[in-house]
Symmetry: C2
Subunit: 186 residues, 2 copies
């Protein structure tokens, strides 16, 4: 079975409190809907800094969440001097400390992770595909640098839309881009 | 069968003529031997520039070769605005134009590629492993982001030492580093 791929570049999710610290009363404007229902790319950016380096133009995704989370690639982490853990979005256990710089303020918190490879779906998809109680699967990707990528976590949400998410390291390593089709293996 | 992994960060090989343009009469000093016999990391760096961006501190590998070649990752290529082809080292067909900046001079030439995944070996290894007439194999890598990577080209040279080379996109995507062991599949 084939599913569409979404490649996640580095980005940030913000809590309301942290949003106000960084952007004051500026409005979070939707630039583009993402595939996952309700999620969108906004018009706003922050700078992520560490004592070693900084990365500018990290996009804020909307809507605001109950927590602040920076999702980086391993390549970004080497650049910033971080040893961030691989996590499912929302799990900030042992997340690395980074400084987030916005136009109205700055804050430093333990919120940087590397998101795991994952498959978005809703409960109906999960039952239909026979993935109830399955924690992770593999995907087969076709390109001039083809591969089977394991450790793809099944991420069920009520509004989930069938889509595989990879970070830029995996996608660039395998010469893949958003919109490519990948084969689920389980 | 397990083989050691070498992760190739972006680097440059230089012809004697181009070396003199960039570095004048400065000596190419060995800093560290690489696994492949005779190859070494030098003390010298160049900047690689395009109309979009530039990457500083790209290391010169020695010894000098009969051609100049810049090896980049796909991530580097996005940053520089290049659509470089995947090639075996030494094959500069359709290589991208970049500007190379050294302390003594600058040159622009079609020399940027993305090196393919490859397995170094010598003829004896090839015969022993049953890889005569085999163009490419796969490797199985173990980590928290495990994978089977295909399209690993078999690269025989007289002085070849058994070693798999991946670029930083593949290595970072799969949480691998130089010295890790990978399993050959063929």
């Amino acid at each position: 079975m084939e599913v569409v791929l979404g490649v996640s570049n580095r980005h940030i999710h913000l809590s309301k409190e942290d949003y106000i610290t960084l952007f004051g009363d500026e409005e979070l404007v939707k630039v583009r809907d993402l595939v996952q229902t309700g999620e969108f790319a906004s018009n706003l950016f922050v700078t992520i800094a560490t004592s070693k380096n900084k990365i500018e133009k990290v996009r804020v995704l909307g809507p605001l969440r109950s927590y602040t989370q920076v999702e980086l690639s391993k390549t970004d982490c080497y650049f910033l001097g971080l040893d961030a853990p691989i996590r499912t979005s929302g799990d900030l256990t042992d997340a690395c400390s980074v400084t987030i710089i916005g136009p109205c303020g700055t804050l430093t918190k333990n919120c940087a992770i590397i998101a795991n490879r994952h498959l978005h779906l809703n409960h109906e998809d999960r039952v239909r595909l026979g993935l109830v109680n399955v924690e992770k699967i593999s995907i087969k990707v076709k390109s001039n640098k083809s591969a089977i990528l394991n450790d793809v976590y099944v991420k069920e949400t009520p509004q989930g839309v069938l889509e595989v998410h990879l970070d830029t390291d995996d996608a660039n390593g395998c010469f893949l881009k958003t919109g490519d089709m990948v084969e689920l293996i389980f």
